[in-house]
């Protein structure tokens, strides 16, 4: 019985856990933490269960909510693509959950150093769990309107989580709120047009109706598609709609940025791919409309803009946020190349980039936790002070540059191949350029971290550089080490992941 109910458990567990934290966790902050980790572990187990089910049967799972069959009720559809993303989301949620044991009490309950605000930790964990429920619901749903509702809950929870940071975090989040709401409105408007034209909200049903010749050449449908894409691009901070992201993520509490940076943009990319190929079709997007010659160069510009801006940042956290903007360009470009290799690169990069963003953000969070500073200078001598954290940060950096055997290499390989096949030379150049910039950025950090400050040592007379070891606590190290290992494992088993999970999900019409 439990086997057939797994799809809904993935969503119901974090939702019920959010309520449990809110109702029963108000007395003790640490209880909230344990409830959260328990809930996320159960969710991760359920996600793995559906993954193995999809892999063993080779077919997608359809789950009918309320027992109503597909176009009349809402259905969840879990296929190869969504089961992979579900596992990534719940895995990241579990890792950050464990990581949050020390960071949340250290940074969340305080507005200033002296003012401790009551009830903030239970509320924080409630929002955390609601965010995960929303993201998982976005990924699992097979209904275009339900996707909007899930998006709403994920977005609202993320505003709350991001706004708790220091200084101007409120203002940055308010900007994000305005932009995010505009994005969601665009999406809703697009779905509204689709409903007027087709009378349906179910993705599978919509695809069937939209395949009719009359629909293929309808202006309303074209505009609906454009609205949906623009809405999702705002949500994923695709250049030039990225303005809200750097400040919102930089000023947020470290736990929030560790959680939201790897998930929010990647889930938006998943949404884009889902809508392009499961509501509309590859034929409609690439042949009938043929906008790839507009979107792929825009993605290339996003990559170049993100990389150059990252190069100019002094604050490491802000630098990483610009790298996220560049990475969004990778995935949008890959999905819009219109061939199988580009698609594989984009989908594989959802997984790979999720894990490597998590890796560098967690390592940086640990450094900030210990040194209280996120400038490049804070990295000085970090290899002596925090050797494990520094090694993890370097590994994450290698993955972002794309050095084999880390996972970053393989996604770039497929993206470059796809760009070559599609003849998108500008995009190909941008990919290589961005790798180069990433190499400069991370080697600069490594150099700073590896060599102690000679000038200061001369003054104080220490030649040995006796910096006391001050490694991050175990609750932070453990998830970091697991994430770093996963970067290697995802890279080493890239062939199995691509052949087992991604190739079966390639939509018909992509060669």
């Amino acid at each position: 019985m439990i086997q057939s109910q797994l799809p809904i458990l993935i969503i119901a567990i974090p939702l019920l856990m959010a309520l449990a934290i809110s109702l029963f966790g108000r007395k003790s902050d640490i209880l909230c933490f344990y409830l959260l980790v328990l809930g996320m572990a159960a969710t991760f187990a359920a996600a793995l269960g559906t993954l193995s089910q999809v892999l063993s049967t080779g077919e997608s799972i359809h789950y009918y909510l309320g027992g109503w069959s597909a176009p009349h009720g809402i259905e969840l559809v879990i296929d190869h693509l969504s089961s992979m993303v579900l596992c990534m989301i719940s895995g990241v949620a579990l890792l950050v959950g464990v990581y949050s044991k020390r960071t949340v009490p250290a940074e969340v309950p305080f507005r200033t150093e002296h003012e401790k605000i009551p009830q903030r930790v239970p509320n924080y964990y409630t929002l955390y769990s609601l965010l995960i429920a929303g993201l998982l619901a976005i990924t699992a749903t097979g209904d275009a309107f339900n996707l909007y509702v899930s998006l709403e809950i994920a977005a609202l929870a993320s505003y709350g989580l991001l706004a708790l940071g220091q200084g101007r975090a409120y203002f940055a989040t308010f900007k994000y709120l305005i932009m995010g709401t505009i994005g969601a409105s665009f999406y809703l408007l697009g779905v509204g047009y689709l409903y007027i034209k087709t009378g349906s909200l179910n993705m599978g049903d919509l695809q069937g109706i939209l395949a009719q010749a009359a629909m293929q050449h309808s202006t309303s449908i074209t505009i609906a598609f454009a609205m949906i894409m623009v809405g999702i691009w705002v949500k994923m901070a695709f250049f030039p709609l990225h303005g809200w992201l750097p400040n919102a993520y930089t000023l947020a509490p470290n736990t929030s940025s560790c959680l939201i940076a790897p998930l929010m943009t990647k889930v938006s990319v998943y949404m884009m791919i889902r809508l392009m190929f499961s509501v509309f079709s590859a034929n409609y997007v690439f042949v009938t409309l043929g906008w790839q010659n507009l979107v792929v160069p825009m993605a290339a510009v996003a990559i170049i803009f993100g990389s150059i801006s990252a190069l100019g940042q002094k604050n490491l956290k802000r630098m990483l946020t610009y790298i996220i903007i560049a990475e969004v360009g990778y995935m949008v470009g890959g999905a819009w190349l219109g061939n199988a290799n580009g698609y594989i690169g984009a989908v594989y990069h959802i997984l790979a980039d999720g894990m490597m963003t998590l890796c560098v953000f967690m390592a940086l969070g640990a450094i900030i936790y210990k040194t209280g500073d996120s400038s490049l200078e804070s990295m000085r001598g970090i290899f002596r002070k925090m050797p494990i954290t520094a090694a993890i940060f370097v590994l994450g950096g290698f993955a972002m540059i794309g050095i084999p055997p880390t996972c970053g290499f393989f996604s770039k390989w497929y993206l470059v191949t796809g760009a070559y096949e599609a003849g998108q030379w500008f995009f190909l150049g941008a990919l290589l350029f961005s790798s180069l910039i990433n190499a400069i950025i991370f080697f600069r950090i490594i150099e700073t971290g590896f060599f102690p400050d000679f000038n200061r040592e001369k003054e104080s007379g220490h030649h040995e550089g006796k910096v006391a070891m001050a490694e991050a606590p175990l609750s932070m190290l453990l998830p970091m080490v697991i994430t770093a290992l996963s970067l290697l494992l995802i890279g080493l088993y890239s062939k199995d992941i691509i052949n087992g999970l991604i190739r079966p999900s390639i939509p018909p019409g992509l060669l």
Binding site: Q5, S22, H72, K197, A226
Partner: protein
Amino acid sequence: MKIIALLVSVALGVILLVATNDLPEWGDPQSPASTHLSRYYIENSMEQTSVPNFVTAVLADYRGYDTMFETAVIFCAGITVLTILRRSHRRKKKDVQPRPCREGQDIILKSAARLIAPMMQLFALYVLAHGHHSPGGGFQGGVISGASFILLSIAYDLEMLLSRLKERTIMFFSGLGVLIYAGIGAICLLLGGNFLNYSSWSKILQVSEVEARSHGMLGIEIGVFITVTFIMISLYADLASGGEMDEGL
């Protein structure tokens, strides 16, 4: 910058107008929206759910999963506002200007509010319970019921309301409403049905499966009602007290 914004808005408006070009006629009975799925709901909702108001049937049963998330969205919004605005009590009362506080001495206002509030609450319950037959339901009823508490706290003062409804109580009930909704759905799993398949409740309620769907809808509407009521109170108290949840307007 403002000119660019204006141009973008105008361009967007033009695009939206162009899109309406090949939309079906206004109120066309042959349009896809009125033929594809709606016909199924209109023809079948009464015999499948025994709820005459098929808007309620679609909202609470056919698409009840969406409504569960909508309720969670309201809960989430309440928690978010509380998390962001909530402050600790002002420790040094002398240093800060006193907030504008109403004395709450107006006898006419107080008496009128005392008369109106119970009527509102009664009407809220009617709107909730009558959602199966007429426009209404948990959201509408919840707003009316929440407004009655806000009316009381405006006529008296916020301190009076918060001394009767503690912050913890408010948060407990706003979570409880969503829990009732999701719990009714989750118990369906234990009874062997799919999530939110209220017909599996027939085993417990000892009624037919169709009747169980109707009862299930009433149950989840009650959950929505509780959440909406208490999130309204929480939002008002939070904003009116400047996030300190003690006293205010």
